[in-house]
């Protein structure tokens, strides 16, 4: 009997035993949702990609900032045996906040069901924060710009 004949013989003679009725009932009762894990994997992959790009950008930005802030290398730096004590960090507390609208421009019209037409207005603010040091011997001015789209009821003539 050669390999093919023996294979055919085994296949013909032995058939895997049927599962018990209990097992079949148990399996049928599980009712798994097809594609559920697939969606989870895809979502996870998307999140990984979504997180990876900003992380890479942040790493590059940090590297650039560090490189720009780093002092010029000193040709012959003195070898000091004693460690230089680190300067204590100053703590600043915000004492004043000013928010000024510096720019506004009309944007798109949108229509929501059951509402009058709305127009989106692009508004740009300038936020100015004044902070003083914990000992009130230094003042720090911070400034940032932010923008938002504000819906307003459109005027209909």
């Amino acid at each position: 009997m050669n390999d093919d004949e023996l294979t055919a013989y085994l296949e013909k003679m032995l058939s895997p035993r049927e599962p018990s009725r209990d097992l079949m009932q148990r399996l049928c009762a599980t009712q798994p949702q097809q594609g559920r894990r697939l969606a989870r994997v895809t979502t996870m992959r998307r999140w990984v990609w979504a997180a990876a790009l900003p992380a890479a950008a942040a790493a590059v930005a940090l590297a650039v900032v560090k490189w720009a802030d780093s002092p010029e290398p000193i040709a012959a730096a003195p070898h000091s045996q004693e460690p230089v004590p680190a300067a204590p960090e100053e703590v600043f507390l915000p004492v004043e906040l000013r928010q000024d609208v510096v720019h506004a421009e009309p944007g798109e019209l949108i229509q929501l069901p059951g509402h009058p037409p709305l127009q989106l207005i692009r508004v740009v603010w300038r936020d100015q924060v004044t902070a003083v040091s914990a000992h009130e011997d230094a003042t720090l001015e911070l400034e940032r710009y932010r923008e938002a789209y504000v819906p307003v009821v459109a005027t209909i003539y």
Partner: protein, 179 residues
């Protein structure tokens, strides 16, 4: 959500349930045989089988059936994971208990019960890698490439294990098989 939407969702669920049952009916015997082959007792085989089938089904896009090689690989991985969590002594005791229960793996289609016992005994007494290979190839219906994928071994190894298993069976079944 409108009432019509509810109706539609429930009809989709019914169709998915039917697909699951149809797939089970067509494949569960060979998957169960492999799970029995990989585990020490029938209860473990059933637990591993259930977990693996559910996992494979949930990993498959809707409207398609899971890849058979992937299901066998999932059963194999689940069985390995199960026994990693137990001590060797526990596994040995379970295997001994299983031997005493002598849960049957096969039914004999034509010949006598005595022939079935001899054939089954010959298959069961093969070393594990040879037994796995022959189970996947003959009763799982996989190609050598798929067997190699399931067992994480090179293609040539899968083929040589298969030939070795057949050779061993031929010697052991010398008096059973027709000449």
């Amino acid at each position: 959500m409108r009432p019509n939407d509810f109706k539609r969702v429930s009809s989709l669920t019914d169709s998915s349930a039917r697909a699951w049952e149809r797939w089970l009916a067509g494949h569960v015997r060979s998957f169960l045989l492999f799970a029995r082959e990989r585990t020490a007792c029938p209860q473990d085989a059933e637990d591993v089988l259930q977990e693996a089938l559910v996992e494979a089904w949930e990993r498959t896009p809707p409207g398609r059936e899971p890849d058979e090689a992937l299901v066998f690989a999932t059963i194999r991985r689940r069985a390995i994971d199960l026994y990693r969590s137990r001590s060797r002594r526990q596994v040995r005791e379970q295997r001994a208990a299983d031997e005493s229960e002598h849960a049957e793996w096969f039914t004999c289609t034509l010949e006598s019960e005595e022939t079935r016992q001899q054939l089954e005994q010959a298959v069961r007494s093969l070393p594990s890698p040879l037994r796995e290979t022959i189970t996947l190839k003959i009763w799982g219906g996989l190609t050598f490439a798929q067997v190699a994928e399931v067992m994480s071994c090179p293609l040539n190894t899968a083929a040589s294990r298969y030939r070795q298993a057949l050779h061993t069976l031929r010697v052991r079944l010398k008096h059973v098989t027709p000449s």
